[in-house]
Symmetry: C2
Subunit: 163 residues, 2 copies
DNA sequence: TCAGCTTACTTGGACGTCCGAGTTTCGGTC
DNA sequence: GACCGAAACTCGGACGTCCAAGTAAGCTGA
């Protein structure tokens, strides 16, 4: 592509005097960069037979004290619906990276526990992903933090946390 | 949620001396804000029976000179695979917002043409979406542009356009 | 104690995205 | 003029996400 399609979209938007061109452009940029990062990270994860969603879930379990968390808590931390967590844990379990374990005291609750294979793969996958800087190698650390700070404002506004 | 799960993830990441914590946090923030924006915009679009993807496609056709574009060109502009465009045009056509028209000279090519209904709905939908500032009302225009500028660097790096 | 509300997870279905593979058509080359 | 690679689109399948609805289990209060 020889030109910036988002800049062109904004130009058209402004020519027609439509509202909120800056917000439109920023939102569309987010959509596009999301797509870029996801694509780059998943290219690197593919040899491990992992997607970004499953990789994140494994990292979460790897970081937890006992290597196990209730599915509901996983949904809170990953900010996913319960159904998405069920789906992800299903697949990870089929791959042998995770095991479903009943909660010792609450029979409603299921724990997902990372296996030895899971620990091994998350280590290797992390090496590969960090080597690509999560697809954001074009930004220096200050720019990355500036970006994170701007995005935090949107997250607070959405009620992710008090701020 | 009473705390910033991404800040907590970064803390854990750094405690273990894993690499590229700033990139990890920025990438994860993008993922989350993408989800927030998409959810907010689609909430507003739901009454029109549109998704963001289909809305964007309609806007693109609305902006085009003849109200019609080859599917391939739509894919370039929207940065989507050909199969995604086929899917979106299928649905828009079923809704009566778009019509498939054969290309006058190249029989391989199909044009998607916006209908009168399509023009009407895109106007109404745009009013609704801009009223919500594309879910980014928490940022002022300067911050939106700063965000767009940072994201542009990633897009150029990914080869979206020469820069 | 037990009825009713809440919590935790699963199921079924819709949607958008991608990939790989296939069909039709175009166009340049020999 | 025929061949062969390239271009444009479609099809089938996988995946992740969401929503609505359903089931099982815990909890609360009269």
């Amino acid at each position: 592509m020889a030109f910036d399609v988002l800049a062109e979209a904004r130009r058209q938007w402004e020519v027609r005097h439509w509202d909120a061109p800056a917000a439109m452009t920023a939102a569309t940029s987010i959509m596009r960069v999301h797509q870029i990062i996801l694509s780059r990270v998943e290219d690197v994860l593919r040899p491990f037979d992992l997607t970004f969603a499953r990789y994140e879930a494994l990292v979460l379990l790897r970081f937890s004290r006992r290597g196990a968390l209730p599915l509901g808590k996983m949904g809170d931390r990953l900010m996913l619906h319960a159904t998405s967590v069920t789906n992800i844990v299903d697949r990870l379990e089929r791959q042998g990276y995770v095991r479903r374990v009943p909660h010792p005291r609450d029979r409603r609750t299921t724990l997902a526990e990372i296996t030895e294979d899971g620990r091994r793969i998350v280590g290797k996958a992390t090496e590969a992903v960090t080597a690509t800087q999560f697809g954001m190698g074009a930004l220096d650390p200050d720019q990355l933090d500036a970006l994170t700070d701007l995005l935090r404002i949107v997250r607070v506004d959405a009620g992710d946390f008090p701020g």
